[in-house]
Structures are given as structure tokens and as C-alpha cells.
């Protein structure tokens, strides 16, 4: 009797080992487990998306929207087609044109629905919708690959998705958490540049120079300092490149230095709030603003300094944390140091605080 059971068990083990090794049952099982797991993760993504959608609708309804559902749908599905890149002539101008058109169109859709509102309120709503749109895109892409993998029994596709899923969920979670800051108009990590600009000028008048961008004039140790930042406290990054270009032209190139300050992505393991100095235009736009700084600096042979504060991608879009807020003061000291040592007395210098100025005037 004892021998019988033992015989049966070892036969079963042998047969299943054989099946696992020489047929594709093992893979089928793996595919089944992975898709089941991915479906539960997709449900988490869907929950985040639905929450973002309902919050966007609520925000629009509060702002006086006639049809929040329709506006949210329209703006979360809004897309931009990148310019042709195999013909590089004037690609930057074409890209800038497309980005401008996008901004104006989105603004127009909002104004049509909400009526005339303050610039800052519209900017904040726009960013909330942008975040919702990003979540919508993530959800749709993940769903697409999951369904495709399932439909074609493509284990490799499903496996890739399974390995990427923790990262995707982390990104989605960061986007979702950033809604909190944008809804309330709180400064975010990326607002470091504008915060430094604020700490350099405080209540000095903000003079408009180009679209959604302002500059202030201050004096540091006998040097005239132009401080450029986006126009706050709405959620906008402005056009710092164009502003710098205009200021340099206004001074006919008589600028000793351009100092750019921005938040930079830290590498895993680096300390949040640590400061690094380098050269070049510290600005993370798609290109049009950065190239303006580079071109104007090259035209008049003006050195460009870069000061960055390290933070993670999540910290950059969520409410500013204490480490970053404290780093701003250190950056201000460093800028003063640079100006004292590298700009002659009586010279002129431009400091640009790059980043999203939400919650910072």
C-alpha cells in the first residue's frame, strides 16, 4: 500500500517535469500568471486615472464649466504631432510654432468653456488636466500592450510589461500625487528656479517682458542684476529663453554673464537638495528656449553658468519639500559669490530662475 502511493507520486512528478520541459505548458502557465498579475496592476492604474478624471471635472465645475465632462475628455485626448526631424532646417522654429499653437489652443478651449478667468487660475487648471492626460496615456498604453500580449499569446511582450510595471506604477503614483499641489496652487520641486529668483529680488516690481515671463532688477555689490522668471503664481514655465534674448539685445550685448538656475534629475543614490555647478544653459524645455539662450550667448560671447539642485522626478512635480526649499538659500549665496568673483564692478548680469512658478510670485 505504502509503495503504491509512493509510486503514484513519483510518476506524477516525473510526468509533470516532462510536460514542463518538453511542451509549452510551462510558458502558458507563466503567461496566465503574468497576465492575471498585470490585470490587477492595470486596475490600480485605472483607479488613479478615474480619481484624476473626477478631480479634474470637479475643478472645472467649480470654475464654472458648462460641461466639465466634455472639456476634460477633449483636453485629455489632445495630442501634438512632432515636426519632421529628418529635415533639420528651422526645426526649432517649427517646434516652437507647434508648441505655441498647442498652448493657445488649450487655452482657447478652456476660455470657451469657463469664460474669462484670471491667467493664474487657468494655468493651474491646465496643468491638472495635463497630469490627467498623462495618466490617461499611461493607462491606455499599458492596456494596449496587455491586451495585445494576451491576444497573440506573446509571452515576451507580457514579460517586458511585467518587468516595467513597477516603474510605470511609480510614475503614475507620482503624477497622481502631484495633482494635490496643482489643485491647491502649492509650489513644486521644479519651482526651485523661480524660488531662487524670488529670494534674489523679493518685492522688486515684476516687469512683463515676453508671454508669461517677467524680469526684475536688483543690485548685488555694485553689479546690476536682471532676474528672469516665469510670471507667478500660476502654473507656468514662461519663455525664459526669449526673455534672456530680449534683455541681452536691449543691453546691446553688454552683459558680463548669464546664470541659469534649474532643478536637475538626481541619479539614484544622490542626495536630494545637493547643489552642482557647471556651464551651459540649465533648462529642460523641448529645445526652443534653450537654443535661444545658447545662440544669444554665443553671438555676444557671454559665458553661461549653470547651477542645479538635484531631486528625483517625483519630487520635481510634487509639493516642494524642505530639503529643496532650504537648498534655494544656498543657491542664492552661491549666485552672489559668482557675481562678486566673476562679474566686474559696474557690470551687468542676467540670472534666470528656470522652472514652474506655481505658488511663487
Amino acid at each position: 500500500m505504502d509503495g503504491d502511493i509512493q509510486g503514484i507520486i513519483s510518476t506524477i512528478i516525473l510526468i509533470s517535469l516532462f510536460l514542463m520541459m518538453f511542451t509549452n505548458i510551462g510558458q502558458k502557465l507563466q503567461l496566465m500568471f503574468l497576465t492575471a498579475n498585470l490585470k490587477s496592476k492595470l486596475a490600480i492604474l485605472e483607479k488613479l486615472l478615474n480619481d484624476a478624471l473626477s478631480r479634474s471635472e470637479k475643478l472645472l465645475a467649480l470654475a464654472g464649466s458648462k460641461n466639465p465632462k466634455k472639456t476634460v475628455r477633449k483636453l485629455t485626448e489632445f495630442f501634438v504631432i512632432e515636426p519632421v526631424s529628418i529635415e533639420p532646417t528651422d526645426i526649432i522654429r517649427r517646434l516652437a510654432h507647434i508648441l505655441d499653437t498647442r498652448r493657445h489652443n488649450v487655452r482657447r478651449i478652456l476660455v470657451e468653456d469657463l469664460g474669462e478667468k484670471s491667467k493664474h487660475e487657468l494655468s493651474n487648471i491646465e496643468v491638472v488636466l495635463e497630469v490627467t492626460s498623462a495618466l490617461n496615456y499611461l493607462y491606455k498604453v499599458v492596456r494596449h500592450y496587455l491586451l495585445l500580449g494576451e491576444k497573440t499569446s506573446n509571452l515576451i511582450l507580457v514579460m517586458q510589461l511585467a518587468y516595467l510595471m513597477p516603474t510605470i506604477l511609480k510614475i503614475a503614483d507620482a503624477y497622481h500625487k502631484s495633482l494635490d499641489a496643482f489643485e491647491k496652487g502649492l509650489p513644486i520641486g521644479d519651482g526651485l528656479g523661480p524660488l531662487v529668483a524670488y529670494r534674489l529680488t523679493y518685492n522688486a516690481p515684476r516687469k512683463p517682458i515676453v508671454e508669461e515671463t517677467v524680469y526684475s532688477i536688483t543690485e548685488i555689490d555694485g553689479r546690476l542684476v536682471y532676474v528672469v522668471k516665469a510670471e507667478g503664481p500660476g502654473a507656468t514655465v514662461g519663455k525664459p529663453g526669449e526673455a534672456i534674448e530680449k534683455l541681452v539685445e536691449k543691453e546691446k550685448g553688454n552683459i558680463s554673464r548669464i546664470i541659469t538656475v534649474d532643478a536637475a534629475l538626481k541619479l539614484e543614490g544622490e542626495e536630494t537638495g545637493s547643489i552642482a555647478e557647471g556651464v551651459g544653459a540649465a533648462i529642460g524645455d523641448p529645445g526652443p528656449e534653450k537654443i535661444r539662450i545658447e545662440r544669444i550667448a554665443t553671438k555676444y560671447n557671454i559665458p553661461v553658468d549653470a547651477l542645479v539642485v538635484k531631486m528625483s522626478a517625483e519630487e520635481a512635480i510634487q509639493t516642494m519639500n524642505k530639503k529643496i526649499a532650504e537648498a534655494a538659500d544656498k543657491v542664492v549665496e552661491e549666485i552672489k559669490d559668482i557675481i562678486k568673483h566673476r562679474v566686474p564692478k559696474g557690470g551687468k548680469v542676467i540670472v534666470a530662475g528656470i522652472g514652474n512658478t506655481i505658488g511663487i510670485i
Partner: protein, 89 residues
């Protein structure tokens, strides 16, 4: 009980331990969220007075928040940030 049955039993027990262990590990990965609060720092233009309070809707850095109780200068929002709440152990 012969050697073969012993090996089978040991294998089954080991597998069970492995299974429990892996489930335990994935469960433990979920760290509890640290409670946070958003602080608004208000400072006098003359730098002789500073106070902190919880963030209120409508606050932004640079907003005028009345007069300084010490020197009568203008109070402004100096900083807004999130802080982890230190839990008393």
C-alpha cells in the same frame, strides 16, 4: 520510512517554506506612508520676525500677510514646503 520518502518530504517542506517566505517578502515591501504636512513660513521684510503655520488655500510665496508685530514692516510668505511629521515614539 525509506530514504526516498524522506527526500520527498524534505522537498515538500522546503517548497512550502519558500512559498511562505516569498509571500511574506512581497507583503513587507509596502511601507506605511509617513504623515506629512504643508507649512507656510512667514517672514518680515526687515528679517526680525518669522512664524510658521499650516498652509491655507490661496497662500503663495511672496504674498503680503500684514504687518510685523515687532517693527511694523511688511510680512510676506517666505517659503512653502512639506515636512514629515515626527512621530513621538
Amino acid at each position: 520510512m525509506d530514504a526516498f520518502t524522506m527526500i520527498q518530504l524534505i522537498a515538500i517542506v522546503l517548497l512550502a517554506i519558500l512559498l511562505v517566505f516569498s509571500i511574506f517578502m512581497t507583503e513587507r515591501k509596502k511601507k506605511p506612508e509617513i504623515p506629512k504636512r504643508t507649512i507656510t513660513v512667514i517672514r518680515c521684510d526687515n528679517g526680525d520676525y518669522e512664524t510658521k503655520r499650516d498652509f491655507r488655500q490661496g497662500d503663495f510665496i511672496g504674498k503680503v500677510e500684514g504687518k510685523c508685530p515687532k517693527c511694523g514692516g511688511i510680512l510676506r510668505v517666505h517659503s512653502i514646503y512639506v515636512e514629515e511629521i515626527q512621530s513621538a515614539k
